[in-house]
Structures are given as C-alpha cells and as structure tokens.
C-alpha cells in the first residue's frame, strides 16, 4: 500500500475497499494471489469453490466467521469471545488452510519438518 499514518492509510483503504483479512476470507484470497499469482477474480472464485460459499460471501464477516470456525481457519482472538482454546489460530490454522486451498505453506512445512522424529 504505502506510507502514511495508520488511520489515514490502513483504515481508510481498509474500510473503503479492503476485503477484511481474517475477519472475512481476505487472507485466503490474498494467499492465492501471493502463492499462485492468481488475479483477483480467479482467486475469489477458487477460494469460494473450496469453501463452498458464494464469491459475495467471501467479504461478509457474518458468513465467514461461522465458515472459518467450522473449518478451523483462524479468526480474531478478541479476548476469548470469538476464538476459544479449541479453535485453531496462527500456525495451527495454517495447517487447515494449506489443506483447504491445496497450496504449500512455508511455515507449515517447516514446522512439520522441525517436529519430525530425529533418530
């Protein structure tokens, strides 16, 4: 995006045109752009198909909270009111994301290699 204070930049762009990150499916769509170089339309359709939701649903936090919780894709921690101790977050959630999107996630592969038995 670019320089400027958080309120003027990140919040303005986020509210004006942003998908919403882990609040919705923005991080999943971004991951397909970053990892596979998919353009937005293709990435949205790919993620929607994998999740079994409509493209419109991808930016809807009301729909996506339940979808993310059911599939263990991570969500806001929010003082224990959204994500509970048995809900995957961070690296735990990325194991599910890698499987769902069928893409390699570097940190997941690294964690798997690091925790493998050594002898």
């Amino acid at each position: 995006m670019g320089a400027g204070d958080v309120y003027g930049q990140a919040i303005s762009h986020g509210v004006a045109s942003g998908m919403g990150g882990i609040r919705t499916a923005g991080d999943l769509v971004a991951r397909m752009q970053i990892t596979r170089g998919m353009r937005l339309k293709q990435a949205k359709e790919y993620v929607a198909h994998k999740l079994g939701v409509s493209v419109m649903d991808l930016s809807d936090p009301v729909v996506m909270l339940d979808v993310r919780k059911e599939r263990g894709l991570g969500a806001f921690t929010e003082a224990g009111e959204i994500v509970y101790v048995d809900d995957p977050v961070g690296l735990e959630a990325k194991f599910h994301i890698a499987e769902l999107l069928d893409v390699p996630i570097n940190s997941v592969e690294r964690f798997t290699a690091m925790t493998r038995g050594r002898g």
């Binding site: 303005s12 762009h13 986020g14 919403g20 353009r39």
Partner: protein, 344 residues
Amino acid sequence: MEQSIPTRMGDGALVFLTPSEIEATIREGVAAAVKRAKVEPLAEDEIAHLLDIFSSRSRFSAVDIGDEVTLSYDGCGSHDIGTRVNDLQYYEQYLCADSVELYHQDYSYKPAKAVIGFEQTTMRQAQFLITAPCGYGAMPDLGLYTVPDGPVANWSQLLPMGKIAEARAAQEEAVELAADDIFFVAASMAEAGADFIDLDTAGAAGDADFLAALKAIARIRARFPDLGIQIGMAGEFVLGMHGELEYDGVRLAGLWPREQMKLAAKAGVTIFGPAINVNTGKPVAWNVARTITIVKQCCEESTVPVHLNGGMGVGGVPMHILPPGDAASRASRSAVDILRLDGL
C-alpha cells in the same frame, strides 16, 4: 449558481471546487497522462464516474459491497509500540490486513543482511502467531553500495564530472552486489518460514536499481518456486541513470507501468505494484484521473495481480504524512472501480 464541493489538493490542503471545476480538472488529469505516458484516455462513462465520486460532499467514499479487493502493505506497523511481531498482530487483528509484512527499520536489503539472524528469529516467531500470509520486505536501494556507504564508485559524483563510462561501470557493479544481497535475504527469510518477499520502491536509483530487482527476482523464483514475490515500484517511469541497461532484451530506462509489469512478471513476481507520483499543486481529482489513465492498460493486460501503490504521494493519495480519509478513500474507490484492481 453551482455549489462548491470541499475537496483536496495533492498536498492534502482543503479547497472548494464547483462540479464544473472538478470535471475540468479530471479531464486535465486524463489529458496529462495521455500526453506524458502515451496511453489511451479514459472513456466518458469512466470520467463521469470519477466526477460522481469527487462531486460528493460525503466524508468518505467506498466501493460497492462485493467489489472489495485484497490489501498488502509495504511494512506493517511503526515500531513505536510493543515489538515488531505485535505490529504484525495488530495489522492482522485490528486493521484486517489481507497480508502482513515484517520489515527492518532501515528498510533496505543491504543493512537487513547484516542482521539476518535477528530477522530470521523474528520471522519465525511471527509465523507461529500470524494466520494471514506473512512476508518480508525491503528496498533494493542501490545507492547504499556507493562510497562512502559502500564499495562502489559514486555515479552521482562521476556523472557531473562527465565520467559517463565510469558511472555506468559503477552501476553495473552495484547491480550484482545488490542482487546477491536481495537473494541472500530472501533465501534466509524463506528458510525462516516467510510466505513472500517484497522488493519495495524498486527503481528508486534508476534503471540499474530496477535491473538489480529483476535479476534477484529471477534467482529467487528459480530457487523457490512456491515463494510469493511482490515488487512495488518507486515511481511512474524508470529513470535512466545508466541509460543502456536491458533485461531480457528490453531497455529499462523510460519504462512505464505496462512495460514494467511485463518484465516483472517474466522475472517471476506474483504481485506487481505500480507507483504513480502525485503532483502536490493539482487537486486530488486531477491526480486520481492521471493515475488511473496511466495504469489502466497495465491492469487490463497483466498476467499477475496488480496492487496499485496507494500511500502518501502516490496513486492519487495526498503527499501528507496524515492522508485525509476523504481523499484516501476516494483515491482507493476510484482505482478499484475503474481499474478492476486486484489489490492495493
């Protein structure tokens, strides 16, 4: 008599323009882009849409529901509160970033190399906590390789003395050093779990700077086929500090976004970020119209996602450290609506 609308200048100052004046400035911005970048003008319905956005007195403007795009950031957080991992967490948790980027305060690959162990450890810690794609970013920053900061002769000193051949040789030497450093840091970050590497403000020192980025990208792509690679440009066209450098048979000096994108995609990026400079003496509507006109063909023809740079001083956003939300949101919406952007 027409009612005046509060709007912004390119430096962020509030001004009042009538709808007729706003339409005139939009048309002037389009014409300026056509003349300078040799691109096609916007269609009449696109100019009408910009006029609609900028003729509103509302404090904020936004895309239609369902038209949202992904947002990437060249460096997350200000390093003022907590740790750098905390910066990434609040970008993910509170600002709803679609991807986050760890960075070193110096934001250049050369100094990052010197503290790479610390950077790797921080990336490793971040990967445990962050769910969204988390990458590492810095600038190629070719100037750091010249004396007195680096080992190469300083072409900014050689050129005024008329030592053209020596200045060119110095830049060519710096290209290889920078590409080595960028690859080293990228490989180290991939080893620590990074999802992507960002080469930001590429081309800041001219065509040699852009060449260093392209050479590094090709090496990173060859070594790490699944690593995301993002490039963000420094300006709207590549300065010819060397003048004769080529990548894949294409002369780099003077390239505009469409041609920059093609070379970046060929080298191996997965996201391309054009940067269109802001004229502080013109209204935001003029700057947005000019930005969109310059980038439109690049977006239409791109084979990789395009994330337009929308920070202060680029992409129509005012050149002010506190960009007003009314202006930033209009720049954001205008670009997404008309360019069908992949992201910002």
